[in-house]
């Protein structure tokens, strides 16, 4: 019989995740990091609520959770940016108290932040040794270059120490950040959403690097909200939800996407198809032979022809940098182009953004902070960005801030933007809330057409669902949506048609029924085109060499599209039978008692059932122990364990000693 593993569903049902003890490599291995009972309180917010976190040498430990769940806060406690309200930090068995990240790095704990802290005009080596006490005065850069090169080689990272930061890609810059931490002797690395800024290929390389470093005995904490990524790279995971751990150090193996998602958001997340059942209406947007240059004045778009109809979502697939940004900018009036862009019979090409806004075009930009919002202005001032010239917010030349505030308050509640009030600065909002603000602004104007670029990038599962629901809602009302995304899953789920871009051209448009990930992947990598033209695209673009020689299938093999790596398929971990019956029992009992509205009765019921359940665990445990000798000893006796579990289950209602 297999070792007993309580189903997550059960544990989640009763909020017993902490019941699981971490799977250590052996009982003797000490954790390198232990955060014990961390509480972190900000004014009005409980960022971490009695969270425990353990990391062992050589493991990748994922920290999963929605935006604002407290993942980054917990790690900021670990590196000394925040001081916990209560709780203990133990590094290598020694209790520590950090006042700054400098103290933390001295103990071997370093963090790679999401936003890099690098000097653009300095070399890799200069950035790495910046801020160190060595060298004291004379800088023998060559010596340090050599050291950095060796360090990079030792962890299998390929980088030129003499390159200037601005010459590096985002992925390379991230490697510099990692090297910076390693150079300071870190054994424990914290990566804050490292893949959020990376292209898929770069993300894959990063994963390799991380695995390599873990293999060398380093411990890596990996903050993320991307389920696939966590499942691909992590050994164990801790899941946070609203500051509380819903899973503490659980092995990743055998967890399905759905289980993780449920633990993260606290409800079922649906990963199903959301195609429109209505026939699309009239053509509302038409692109005719649109060509444009990119920021470096190189051709980025070549003769794009597209049609977008009312009530449909047209997905644009493609690897980042194949002209999608330029396409969106041309349509929204932010970039000049050749050709015609006809919206509602008007040519909007090379008109101002204001003109297209007036034509009922909404734009959800890729860069929320840099383009989509004014970070230091209030929510009110951010939501009126596009309609501030219109009544009732504006009266002739005058701006009515009262009306603006009312408008903002309405949007805040209907789009569920979580913030103290509408005077809060936009930069204080979390990523998901900022995106809600942008959606509120863009969708509340009842647009005829929405151009959405990467609308769910960097958001957590719950927020992604919300954004997608909003887009679908608008689509069903007859709005036309141009959706540019690098997430193939998302495109497949939402789009009615999918156009694939490669090297500035549309290489094919598919009805959703015909679309399969394999074909799209081939098209995205330029191995296949379906628009009837013979040659592969790219021949007419200056910056790339023709790639016509390689046969299609061979190329597909040599560079498989990343997004294909993990197609969505329902993965249900088989439930043990007794457990399943127990859960069913518990569920019915809960429903019954809740219906009867008798808390006492319910408490008793739960009590009984938990007791019964633990008895059964005990039995199984005894049986399984020889098979898994590495299972650590439970430190608590059964009675204590029961009390702890009850406390968790009953929360405030747990009778204190006196009452007993």
């Amino acid at each position: 019989m297999a070792r007993f593993e309580p189903s997550l569903e059960y544990l989640y049902e009763f909020n017993l995740m902490s019941y699981l003890e971490p799977k250590a490599d052996s009982a003797t291995v000490e954790p390198v990091v232990e955060l014990r009972d961390i509480v972190l309180r900000f004014p009005g917010v409980l960022a971490n609520d009695h969270v425990n976190f353990k990391m062992y040498p050589g493991e990748i430990h994922a920290l999963l959770g929605e935006n604002g769940a407290g993942k980054s806060s917990l790690m900021n406690v670990l590196i000394g940016l925040y001081r916990p309200t209560s709780g203990q930090i133990i590094i290598n068995g020694e209790p520590v108290s950090f006042n700054s990240p400098k103290d933390a790095i001295a103990k071997g704990v370093g963090m790679v932040h999401q936003h890099f802290m690098l000097v653009q005009n300095q070399t890799v080596t200069e950035n790495i040794i910046l801020g160190l006490d060595q060298p004291r005065f004379f800088l023998n850069l060559k010596k340090y270059d050599e050291e950095v090169r060796q360090l990079a080689e030792s962890v299998g990272v390929n980088i030129d120490p003499t390159a200037k930061i601005w010459q590096l890609s985002v992925g390379e810059q991230q490697r510099v950040e990692i090297l910076k931490i390693l150079y300071r002797g870190a054994q424990i690395l914290i990566m804050d959403e490292p893949t959020a800024v990376l292209a898929p290929q770069e993300a894959e390389e990063l994963m390799e690097t991380l695995r390599g470093m873990a293999g060398q005995g380093k411990s890596i904490a990996f903050i993320s909200h991307k389920l696939n990524e966590v499942r691909a790279v992590a050994d164990r995971l801790t899941i946070l939800r609203r500051g509380q751990a819903t899973a503490e150090g659980v092995p990743v193996e055998g967890m399905s996407r759905e289980q993780l998602a449920t633990l993260m958001v606290g409800r079922e997340v649906i990963f199903n198809q959301r195609r429109s059942d209505k026939e699309p209406g009239e053509v509302i947007l038409k692109l005719e032979n649109v060509s444009a240059l990119n920021n470096k004045n190189l051709p980025a778009l070549h003769n794009i022809n597209l049609e977008l109809r009312q009530g449909e979502i047209l997905g644009i697939a493609g690897v980042a940098g194949n002209g999608q940004s330029e396409l969106v900018e041309c349509v929204t009036g932010l970039r000049s182009c050749q050709g015609k862009i006809i919206l509602n019979g008007e040519n909007i090409a090379n008109k101002s953004p204001r003109f297209s806004i007036a034509q009922g075009l909404s734009h959800i930009p890729e860069d929320r902070i840099g383009v989509g919002s004014a970070p230091n202005l209030s929510i009110t001032k951010n939501v009126i960005m596009k309609n501030y010239r219109e009544k009732p917010i504006s009266k002739h030349w005058q701006l009515d801030y009262k009306a603006a505030k009312t408008h903002a308050e309405g949007l805040k509640s209907s789009y569920d933007i979580i913030a103290p009030n509408v005077e809060t600065q936009a930069r204080k909002l979390s990523g998901g809330n900022l995106q809600k603000l942008i959606l509120a602004r863009e969708l509340s104007s009842v647009p005829q057409i929405v151009v959405a670029m990467q609308p769910t990038r960097g958001l957590d599962v719950g927020a992604i669902e919300g954004v997608q629901e909003l887009l679908i809602g608008r689509r069903d009302e007859g709005c036309a949506i141009l959706l540019v995304s690098e997430e193939l899953d998302e495109l497949m789920r939402l789009s009615d048609r999918i156009a694939v871009m490669y090297e500035g051209e549309i290489v094919g448009i598919m009805e959703d029924e015909d679309a399969d990930i394999q074909t799209i992947g081939l098209m995205m990598t330029g191995s296949l085109r379906m628009d009837g033209k013979e040659d592969l695209p790219g021949h007419n673009l200056l910056q790339k060499e023709p790639e016509t020689e390689a046969p299609a299938d061979e190329k597909a093999e040599s560079q498989p599209p990343l997004a294909m790596a993990d197609p969505i398929e329902p993965e249900e971990a088989p439930l043990q039978e007794p457990l399943q019956t127990f859960i069913d029992d518990a569920k019915t009992a809960q429903e019954e008692t809740l219906a009867s509205e008798d808390p006492k009765n319910f408490k008793q019921e739960v009590n009984e059932r938990i007791e019964k359940f633990f008895d059964s665990i005990e039995e199984q445990d005894v049986e399984e122990k020889p098979a898994k000798p590495d299972l650590p000893e439970r430190p608590l006796t059964e009675a204590e364990e029961k009390e702890r579990v009850l406390r968790k289950v009953l929360g405030d209602k747990y009778p204190e000693d006196g009452e007993k």
């Binding site: 900000f42 004014p43 009005g44 001081r83 209790p95 520590v96 108290s97 006042n99 700054s100 929204t332 932010l334 101002s352 953004p353 204001r354 806004i357 734009h363 930009p365 860069d367 840099g370 383009v371 989509g372 919002s373 004014a374 970070p375 230091n376 202005l377 001032k381 009126i384 960005m385 596009k386 501030y388 010239r389 504006s394 030349w397 005058q398 701006l399 801030y401």
Partner: protein, 371 residues
């Protein structure tokens, strides 16, 4: 046992509304304390000197009117700078725009553009004010246009233009309009003088010799207008939006090039009006030295006022007082010393709004205590 460590912790919550005012006033007060210590160290009695300062600036109606005379151009220039700075346009060419405004205003009595004997005073003055603003606006247009069309750094352009206008003015002052070879033009006819309180001395004896002129009203009116623009108008909203994130503003449909030019011109027009106020209200002629670098002080005023139009008035009066008081004290550098300390402390006091101090005991200390 080591002492607890004081560390700066970034504020996570908003500061209360009274806090910025309190820290600013505290900083000014502290500046006077530090100035006092310095005065003491060179052997002077700081209380006596500050008393004299105060008396020199606010002691009588006459001295207060002098303060307001000095404050008037500062208010206008400070407002102009505030407007430009709100949009992150670093207009440090107020000095040049001020001189250009003075030049354009002077055209009215010096050319003369209207017959000075017969035209009513109100028409002459309106025309002068209008031309002064045009002059400043045109001089603001140059950096604005260069910035908008070619993205040329406005700091360099405005700074250079400051020098050009000096020579431009000198050509006219020496070459064309010189008053018997001196570095100044003839005194303007009375019709080109801004009305002064002293003009009322006939009716009210108190006003005899009081130099306060109507220019200060321009300043107050301009503050009101700038306040309305920034806080109650569509245009002001757009200025703030462009200032905070130009890319977002462009995305929201704002025409950044047009607004850059417009704001630069309005900023220049206010400085130009200050130039008109100074030639028409104080010196009554065009001369090489009209400004005691009002243009640069205006930049400082705008910053100290944190780009708030009403605060610009208060700060300008403080600066005016320091200028007037410096006449009473030898060496006069002492008031510049105070100016410097105030600027330094007020700007540093922002730290208190972004951070708070926290006493922390290191882990080592705790262990020692435990042991």
């Amino acid at each position: 046992m080591s002492l607890p460590k004081i560390s700066l912790v970034r504020r996570t919550e908003d500061v209360p509304k009274w806090m910025p005012l309190v820290t600013t006033l505290g900083a000014v007060l502290l500046a006077f304390v530090i100035g006092g210590i310095i005065l003491k160290s060179i052997g002077a009695n700081p209380f006596y000197i500050y008393g004299y300062f105060f008396k020199g600036a606010f002691g009588s109606l006459g001295s207060f009117s002098d303060v307001m005379v000095k404050a008037s151009p500062l208010i206008l220039i400070g407002l102009g700078c505030s407007l430009a700075f709100r949009m992150r346009l670093w207009n440090i060419g107020a000095e040049g725009q001020f001189f250009m405004g003075a030049f354009f205003a002077s055209l009215v009595p010096l050319v003369p553009l209207v017959p000075m004997e017969t035209t009513p005073k109100i028409v002459v003055l309106t025309l002068m004010g209008f031309l002064g603003m045009i002059g400043g606006a045109l001089y603001g247009f140059i950096p604005g246009y260069l910035k908008a069309k070619f993205n040329i750094n406005e700091i360099i352009v405005t700074l250079m233009l400051n020098y050009i206008v000096v020579f431009w003015n000198n050509y006219w002052i020496f070459g064309k309009w010189s008053d018997s070879g001196f570095q100044m033009t003839k005194t303007f006819p009375k019709a080109a003088w801004l009305p002064r309180l002293a003009d009322l001395a006939g009716q009210y004896k108190v006003f005899s010799g009081i130099t306060l002129h109507a220019g200060v009203l321009f300043g107050l009116l301009a503050a009101l207008i700038v306040h309305i623009i920034l806080n109650n108008s569509n245009w002001g909203y757009m200025i703030n939006l462009i200032g905070d994130n130009p890319r977002a503003a462009r995305y929201a449909g704002a025409d950044i090039a047009k607004n850059t030019i417009l704001v630069f011109m309005l900023s220049g027009a206010l400085a130009g009006l200050a130039g008109m106020v100074e030639v028409s209200g104080v010196v009554h002629r065009l001369q090489e030295r009209i400004s005691t670098s009002y243009g640069f002080s205006g930049v400082i005023v705008a910053w100290l006022a944190k780009l708030n139009p009403w605060a610009v008035i208060v700060v300008s009066i403080l600066f005016g007082a320091l200028i007037v008081a410096s006449r009473e004290i030898q060496p006069s550098g002492i008031s510049f010393l105070l100016q410097g300390i105030i600027l330094f402390l007020v700007i540093s006091s922002d730290v208190l709004l972004k951070y708070k101090f926290q006493l922390t005991r290191s882990a080592k200390v705790k262990d020692e205590v435990a042991a």
